[in-house]
């Protein structure tokens, strides 16, 4: 593996502060759902790569899509890149979502805010698996946003996958009112949504609540975590998550999010 130069193939703002980019790079042909890349700012005063999940890969396998929120100077600089600009990327990094456990199950994808992009690539793979032996039974997505100003970004992409896609907003200005976990609970009690497996990505409090919800239903939940990162490859031990069991690599109750994760089984995490 090495750092490589990627070319920006397209750039679009999906909502205010939410940017979608397609990058032409060789890492695309072996990326898996839930894995991430580091994108390096060019400004030499900003030396650390910014981690972004791989939102999807084009059918030719030579481009990746990233969708991210502008949240600081580094992401601001990356968001300002234009068509044909070159940027350094490293990846694919980390362990993604396990797919085999979806076999024969009703699967629910839960995305909170900027967590949604992490699940699109997964949705495509799971949908493809439905028709083949050993795949998921069915897949639906529940995407949560703060409000309608976020223009339910990526929701059309999930619909285009051909799966049931539901929208929730915190203030009820679009879709169902409530956060994704509240809404999932409500739909479950109405027997509209009866998941046997959950995959989720979003802010930490949401992921904790997803873990509790899954525990109530006695079903597994795989969650993708986020943390400040430095090396992104498991050397610096900057991005760890406390775990219930002693981690095999670290020999302590802290697992590396960039290497053992970013996807963990929710019940492994010590909240």
């Amino acid at each position: 593996m090495m750092k490589e130069k990627a070319r920006i193939h397209s750039r679009r703002e999906l909502a205010e502060g939410i940017v979608s980019m397609w990058l032409k790079c060789s890492l695309a042909d072996h990326a898996e759902p839930g894995q991430f890349v580091l994108v390096y700012p060019k400004d030499s005063s900003r030396l650390l790569g910014r981690p972004f999940c791989i939102c999807e890969v084009n059918p030719e396998g030579d481009e990746i899509r990233i969708v991210f929120r502008i949240s600081g100077k580094g992401t601001e600089e990356i968001a300002a890149l234009e068509y044909r600009d070159i940027v350094e990327v490293e990846g694919p990094l980390g362990k993604g979502y396990p797919l085999e456990c979806a076999a024969g199950k009703q699967v629910l994808l839960m995305g909170g805010g900027i967590g949604a992009p992490s699940l699109l690539f997964l949705a495509q793979r799971l949908k493809k698996s439905i028709v083949s032996y050993g795949g998921a039974k069915n897949v639906s997505a529940l995407l949560g946003y703060r409000n309608s100003a976020l223009k339910r970004f990526l929701a059309d992409d999930f619909l285009n996958v051909g799966i049931q896609t539901m929208i929730a907003t915190d203030d009820g200005s679009d879709g169902i009112k409530g956060n994704v976990v509240e809404v999932a609970k409500r739909l479950h009690s109405q027997r509209v949504l009866l998941p046997q497996l959950i995959y989720a990505c979003g802010p930490m409090p949401m992921l904790k609540a997803v873990g509790e919800f899954a525990a109530e239903l006695k079903i597994p939940a795989y969650i993708s975590l986020e943390e400040h990162m430095a090396c992104g490859v498991g050397a610096c031990l900057g991005c760890v998550v406390p775990t219930k069991e002693r981690d095999g690599h670290s020999n302590v109750h802290n697992a590396r999010i960039c290497t053992e994760g970013p996807v963990f089984e929710a019940s492994e995490v010590l909240w």
Partner: protein, 306 residues
Amino acid sequence: MVKKNPDLSVSLCGITFKNPITCASGTFGSGMEYAQFVDLNRLGAITTKGVSDRAWEGNPTPRVTETPSGMMNAIGLQNPGMEVFAKRDLAFLAKYDVPVIVNVCGHILEEYKNVVEFLSDKEGIAMFEINVSCPNIREGGMAFGTSPKELLHVTKEVKAVSKKPVIMKLSPNVTSMADMAKAAEQGGADGISLINTFTAMKIDVYRRRFVLANRTGGLSGPAIHPIAVRMVYEAAHAVEIPVIGMGGIASAEDALEMLMAGARMAAVGMMNFHEPEAMVHVIDGIEKYMEETGTEKIVDLIGCLD
């Protein structure tokens, strides 16, 4: 005047290194993660992440944050402990033809001695680097490395149990680098390495919170490089024992500055995170510099200015 195949080898404490470049402890693990990016055999040495007698959990997150041309960390020396290190990391490193410098950490003197005693008989260790300069743990660490008297005592005690050369890694959070270097030398150290990180603080003004869970962290990266060069110069001119220089090295020129300031070897730290091949680029750059300037031996550059 272009000279081909210049001699990059250096010797330190009776050991010959094929070139003067190693990694700064904690920025490269034991090389396992970076072996997919870098041919480890190219490196002058591998300096491991700190090893303690038992496994350490480290600090809560956030542990790292970026700063202008640098970063701050407060990992808290998370490590699997010396037994796992010996069984797994040393076995991994044995596959490579590269000297290994094992960094040792502890809360109290006994812990440092436990590690050094336990590892002294293990195969594949060139020397120990004793971390008496970590700013991110409450006891031990920097507490030993900021008082000349304490430093002298720790050095003496560790030397007494070590069967390998001992390098003391010094903190820059002191008034006089020269005094600390002398204390290590008087304690019997075979060499010194510097600098560890500067104690620093960053505040998120919008959340009104410290950015790092530990409140303070160690500042590293190119931002600190000129201070590191000055401190290496001061230390190298205060003692006879060899010096390993580090602090924000990002290029061959930066590493050459360290050597000219008096360091026998130079270590690349934070820049490994920016560019996994950073050390190889530095080594190639030094070779090119030597060819272009007609320098036959790298040792001719070490401490070449007074």
